[in-house]
């Protein structure tokens, strides 16, 4: 509680309030605009935050991340275009509500659900993150190696593109992470005599390339003059009626729990949590006939879930210093650039940053509630910005932003290569999320592996003698084989049923 109060003292300073507001506003705009995600936006702004104190910069980045979750719902409901992948499910019921003249109510339910879920998740985050950080102080290299392997394996399983493709992307990310200074000896490797590569492949140009430049190239391929039909909503129509409110309470609470728990798991948690929540609500609802025609439960549940998952994703980042998703990987990168070392010591060494970011999220959540509903008209105007103007401007921000990080032309080349490579990978149906995470986790993983082997005098048994690492490897193994087991069990039961039917 003392820490949280200290955090509020940091978050409530005028400069931090301003940047929390700016982050929330930018996040909402990013959420509204299809294509530009929170990762791209954070990467673009990284160069512009150097002169800011670390806590202020991180408060803004956190605002962009959870603000984008709010913004995504607006376009899903009123235009039937998800601004973010996590808002795809909201299109199903939200747009149907809008077509029946209940667009205002859908927006209110989404915003209120996001606020409640975000606030509940923050309470749990404030309690859980310090506890986990305390426990993590006892972790040694084998545990860190096991957590990294577990994270990457689970992410590979959940990325939805097939294990082999995911593993290949993880592998590429790990190889890229070995470029530059060796973590233990301090000797350079794979630098090909280039000074720019001696420091390694920075995460920022890679993220800007994969999420910024690749997106611009992708959009350039599409038809650029499409018009969007936007359903208009008046401020007076924003409040839901009594029945809609009553039907939204349960899904909001259930969505909060599902979202937070999913946020703790590596992978595209926000997207998964919305599908889980929607499926659950559809199964248990007393108004199943309304699903597909504009059921408020189908808006409240998923929107609450995606916000809670965004908050949940901060738990491993703040307490272990391990990101489980690309947006938190970028936050980790931002922390390091600002001289803050994430991990269990963060709460002790930089309580202003640890608690300041958490406290600012309470304030940012409230700001978003106030910001989103009255300004919905303005956000829809942003949506009308022509893509053929927006994309070249994004490219401009990419090149200036990446150059500003290290004043390095090598970084520009890295961004361009990863942008063009990322575009081709997208065309070939490869997801780059595992690559990005492996690139960030790679150095820690290598360090942990080598230190563990030194400790055990070369024996790999060390990963199976420590209880936590053994449990994580077992769990990861189970998660890996579970789809095969599930398929086998299903085939067995289908075969048995067919035999009985004969």
């Amino acid at each position: 509680m003392e820490g949280l109060l200290q955090g509020f003292a940091v978050a409530l300073t005028p400069i931090n309030l301003f940047f929390a507001f700016l982050g929330a506003l930018l996040g909402t705009i990013v959420g509204v605009l299809p294509g530009i995600g929170p990762i791209g936006a954070m990467a673009l702004l990284l160069g512009a935050t150097y002169s800011l104190p670390p806590a202020t910069a991180l408060i803004m980045f956190a605002g962009i991340y959870y603000g984008s979750m709010y913004g995504g719902s607006t376009t899903s409901i009123l235009v039937n275009i998800p601004g973010e992948p996590s808002s795809v499910v909201t299109c199903l019921e939200g747009n149907q509500m809008a077509r029946r003249g209940r667009g205002g109510a859908a927006l209110f339910i989404a915003a209120a659900g996001s606020f409640v879920a975000g606030s509940l998740a923050l309470v749990v985050l404030s309690w859980l993150a310090p506890l986990l950080a305390e426990a993590a102080l006892k972790f040694g290299p084998p545990e860190y190696f096991a957590i990294s392997v577990f994270g990457l394996l689970v992410l590979s399983q959940l990325s939805g593109q097939g294990l082999l493709k995911s593993f290949l992307m993880v592998g590429v990310g790990l190889l890229l992470s070995t470029v530059g200074m060796d973590v233990i000896s301090g000797q350079p490797r794979f630098d090909f005599g280039t000074i720019g590569l001696k420091q390694g492949v920075d995460f920022v140009p890679i993220a800007m390339g994969l999420f910024g430049v690749a997106e611009v190239l992708e959009v350039a391929k599409e038809s650029l003059d499409e018009r969007k039909d936007v359903i208009r909503v008046k401020l007076s129509q924003l409040l839901p009626n009594k029945a809609e409110t009553k039907r939204s309470v349960g899904p909001t609470l259930r969505g909060s729990v599902i979202g937070f728990l999913t946020g703790l798991i590596p992978g595209p948690a926000a997207v998964i949590s919305t599908f889980l929540s929607y499926t659950l609500e559809r199964k248990i609802s007393r108004h199943q006939q309304d699903f597909g025609r504009g059921a408020p439960e189908g808006v409240a549940g998923p929107e609450s879930a995606n916000n809670a998952s965004a908050v949940g994703a901060f738990v491993p980042l703040l307490s272990l210093g391990i990101p489980f998703a690309p947006p938190t990987a970028l936050l980790l990168s931002a922390m390091m650039i600002h001289g803050v070392t994430p991990g269990p010591m963060l709460i002790k060494e930089r309580p202003d940053v640890f608690w300041g970011v958490i406290s600012s999220m309470y304030i940012g959540n409230f700001m978003l509630l106030v910001l989103n509903l009255p300004l919905v008209g303005i956000f829809l105007h942003v949506l009308r910005t022509p893509k053929n103007l927006l994309m070249p401007l994004i490219l401009l921000l990419c090149v200036v932003g990446v150059f500003a990080v290290n004043n390095s032309v090598v970084d520009l080349w890295i961004m361009l290569v990863s942008g063009i490579g990322g575009y081709f990978l997208r065309k070939m149906d490869f997801s780059v999320a595992p690559l990005v995470l492996a690139l960030v986790i790679g150095p820690m993983m290598e360090n942990a592996l080598r230190q563990s082997l030194m400790l055990s005098l070369g024996s790999f048994d060390i990963f199976f003698t420590q209880p936590l690492s053994r449990a994580l490897f077992l769990l990861a193994g189970l998660i890996l084989v579970s789809p095969f087991l599930w398929r086998l069990t299903r085939q067995f039961f289908i075969k048995r049923r067919n035999e009985n039917a004969r």
């Binding site: 592998g171 190889l175 190239l217 150059f403 500003a404 149906d429």
Partner: protein
């Protein structure tokens, strides 16, 4: 002509890059399991990735994935010409940035991208490119003191 499956194409590209990576990795001191040196993880990682590439190519060869035809009779929704042209402009940008300077090269980059993406006429595109570059210069060079290359304007 037989079309190479997407996965095989990606796996071959990554495999070729990994062979080059492994060549470099084998030059590094490997150490031993009890005292792994800086080449330990790169060699193991490189071999693992090479194995995965071989597995993917093998899988495609033995159990070929049926690629779904794109909607619209197999023709891709948009043209690949624009991304290719933008890529060309982008690749020339780092080559010009230092000798020509930030303002001329970035104005050129934005102008050509606007033009390729068919945003209004050339004059409108040029004005927007100049204004946007000027604003970026103001924010990064003047306000944030980022040393952007001056080039011919020095």
């Amino acid at each position: 002509m037989t079309r190479v499956p997407k996965n095989t194409l990606v796996a071959s590209g990554i495999g070729a890059a990994t062979i080059l990576y492994l060549y470099e990795a084998f030059q590094l001191p490997f150490g031993a399991a009890r005292m792994p040196d800086m080449g330990f993880v790169p060699v193991l990682g490189g071999l693992l990735v090479l194995g995965l590439c071989a597995l993917m190519i093998g899988k495609e060869w033995i159990f070929p994935d049926k690629e779904k035809p794109k909607e619209g009779g197999g023709k891709e929704a948009g043209s690949s010409r624009r991304p290719m042209l933008i890529s060309l402009v982008l690749v020339s940008y780092p080559l010009l940035l230092v000798p020509v300077g930030f303002i001329p090269s970035t104005t050129g980059l934005v102008f050509f991208c606007l033009w390729i993406m068919r945003f209004r006429g050339w004059f409108g595109s040029l004005v927007i490119a100049l204004v946007a570059t000027g604003l970026a210069h103001l924010l990064f060079a003047v306000l944030l003191h980022v040393p952007l290359p001056k080039g011919i304007l020095d």
